[in-house]
Amino acid sequence: MGSLRDVLSPFTAWKHVIETPVTIKNPIGREAADRYRGFHQNDTDKCIGCGSCEDICQNAAIDMIPVDNPKDGDSGLRPQIDYGRCCWCALCVDVCMTGSLTMSNEYTWVDSDPDAFRFIPGVDKMPWDDFEKGYERQGDRMLSGLTRPEMAELEPEARIGNFDEIVAGYSREQAVLEADRCVECGLCVATCPAHMDIPDYIAAIREGDYDLGTQILYETNPFSEVCGRVCTHKCETVCAAQYEGEPIAIRWLKRHIIDNVSEERRLEIVGTPQVLPTGQKVAVVGAGPAGLTAAYDLARSGHAVTVFEAQDKPGGMMRYGIPEYRLPYDALDRDIAVIKAQGVEIKTGTRIGTDITLDQLKADYDATVLSIGLHLGRSTRVPGSDAPGVEAAIDLLRRITAGEEVPVPKKVAVIGGGNVAMDIARSMARLQKQKFGEVGVTVTALEDFDHFLADKEEVTESFEEGIEILDARGPQEIVTFKSGKRKGHVKGLRTWKVTSIFDEQGRFTPQYDEGDEMVHEVEMVVEAIGQMADISLLGDELTEALEWNRGRIAVDADGHTSEPWLWGGGDAVHGPDVIHAVADGHKIAASVNVALMAKAEAEK
């Protein structure tokens, strides 16, 4: 039976009978650990509804549900969690792009109704909404990259003296790294006026399938070369990656695809119209992005398209408004070549009103698309703005592109803070560098740097190139020589410090601090404060007949004007923006196509 010890020793267990039980007196509702992963919380102000949480949830526990009063830049959705699915793994918290989703350390939820176990954190009120403790991501987001790869570009010294393209584009490795950061939420697609399938072509980059990428690009945009370089990339402003890191370089990725597909290959991929000619004829006025996009779409639908362009070369503002160092002309030519390959006829050097009239177009064509762009510079109308030596930026840019002689003085002032101001300032700087070996450009902008209109990169690069940018300065007078040989010519620019730009109602009424006055001694002042359309070509009769909307031709949602034969779009209708113009082109083309098909049907 073993030793006596074996019999007696077990009784030592009885010493516990006099100890206080170790039971927790009141266990219900006991607080969980600080890091405990309990029910979700969501800071709905931070959340952008990108749906990354839904994507990563391996339990399909998360639904994206529309909520009231979404803010700008979010999808208007918020995650709803189904606790009949959730496993509290917190991958949704880890992946959350804004850090808005967290978990409280509350864990008790009992209900006899099985349908009750779902709610939208932050929207549906829950007892644990205000809990401080719980799980939140430690440190930076680890599940997807935070920063862009550095892109190779010309050093300021190397680029300032010429119009060579500055950025080199991504290498394959860089592009894959950058493409890998995308979480495919699609907020960019929604934001992009042309609704380009951005996540899809980014996915094509990851796969290394540039043919597919090109195909995706051409589905929504025939100007990939252009947009890959100079697009205003509204998509990047809503990118989910920007909240805890840098937004995905969508524009550069687009360019990366097109850089990797030769022109011939591109023509093969895009091909030619696959439909029978409809016999319908369309005239497009203006070979800018809107017009050419419309022409491209219509040609692919089987219509015969003729584009009339006043300048010598097609491209419109893309060619004559954007300096070559940003958009090399051969890139633009490659885009246009694809469009031409669709059978689009482009008649350059044909100005409406002088070479051919709209009435003729009305008579000869089944439909006419008006996309004349904004080719006239606006003036500040401050005293002296009509003096010699005061130039319009848009005009100067056109002349530089066209190879015409432009005056290049040693000191230039640019009024304006938009991208056009930067373009002309940097163009002038290059010309000055070529001519004098040094740069003397001053940009005065109404906005301060926090609210600057031009892209950040533009500003930084301008600084790098030695351009002086003065923010929050309002032009008061263009000082001219009162006497001497150059009497009446520009002598300088007088500016005041801006204290505010808009009044409380949001109207444009700049206020100045008159004590902070500066006079910039320059020989030339360039006004870059906006452009307007040259509507004189419409003719009085048509101008009368059309409906107008704040000085722009009024169009309906499809781009149709009040005249049944006439469609309008592009900058002239919607303001300056390439991608917007492309989107307009598509819209118009679709509308024209519907009308023409109906017409063709009727003619049969």
Binding site: G29, D82, G84, R85, C87, W88, V110, D111, S112, P114
Partner: protein
């Protein structure tokens, strides 16, 4: 998550082959009678259980409900992972015995079936058997996400997603798995429900017996099991 294969079609043609001893047949009893037997009929309860009415006297029923609420005997059947959190309840840290909650090893003596998480089809069969063996009134608590809507096994081919399709459930406790504290909170809530006289799942099961059986049969193909439940 991989996309759903839209072309996949479940094989609905193949019947599960009934074992020889499961098939209905005629047998001769030792005293010479020839009788029809249908073994399968005995293996799952085909005869609808009786609906038991409440006691006529409200006071008596109230007292009974109080007693039922304060003497919850749980069947010690760990159907899924949640069972591991039942153990702390039985032991010093949380000591559910204080609240009149005890564990019984046999379904005949248990009133509360805790479905501790997911139920595979194979376990579902046993859980149903256990449930049917429990005396009325009996309660079912679904524990964890899996019982509510499939939980993390929402795409598994072998686990049920909605427990209330197959058994009447009185209460759900969310969690994966719920902590002992949450379980206790759940049991307290269940007590309230019982005391209010609303925990009539067994009668619900009896009343909708055909519906429950049809649901059960739609997922359980093989009804063979030993003729006692362990």
């Amino acid at each position: 998550m991989k996309d759903l294969d839209k072309n996949f079609k479940k094989d609905t043609e193949t019947e599960f082959p009934l074992r020889e001893e499961m098939r209905p047949r005629k047998v001769t009893t030792p005293d010479g009678q020839v009788i029809d037997i249908d073994p399968l009929a005995d293996y799952f309860c085909q005869e609808a259980p009786k609906v038991h009415r409440k006691s006529y006297s409200a006071i008596v029923e109230g007292f009974y409900n109080w007693a039922r609420a304060n003497s919850l005997w749980i069947l010690g059947f760990g159907t899924g992972c949640g069972a591991i959190e039942m153990r702390p309840l039985m032991t010093p840290r949380f000591d559910a015995y204080r609240y009149g909650i005890q564990w019984r090893p046999t379904p005949r003596q248990a009133n509360l079936l805790v479905i501790s998480g997911y139920l595979s089809v194979k376990t579902l069969k046993r859980a149903i058997r256990a449930y049917e063996q429990m005396p009325q009134p009996k309660f079912v608590v679904g524990l964890g996400s899996c019982t509510i809507n499939g939980g993390m096994y929402w795409d598994s081919y072998n686990t049920i997603k909605k427990l209330d399709e197959y058994l009447p459930v009185d209460l759900y406790i969310a969690g994966c798995m719920p902590r002992p504290e949450a379980l206790l909170a759940g049991f307290m809530e269940l007590k309230k429900i019982i005391r209010k006289g609303e925990a009539e799942g067994a009668n619900k099961y009896a009343e909708n017996f055909d519906w429950y059986k049809a649901n059960q049969k739609s997922v359980i193909k093989d009804w063979d099991m030993p003729d006692y439940s362990w």
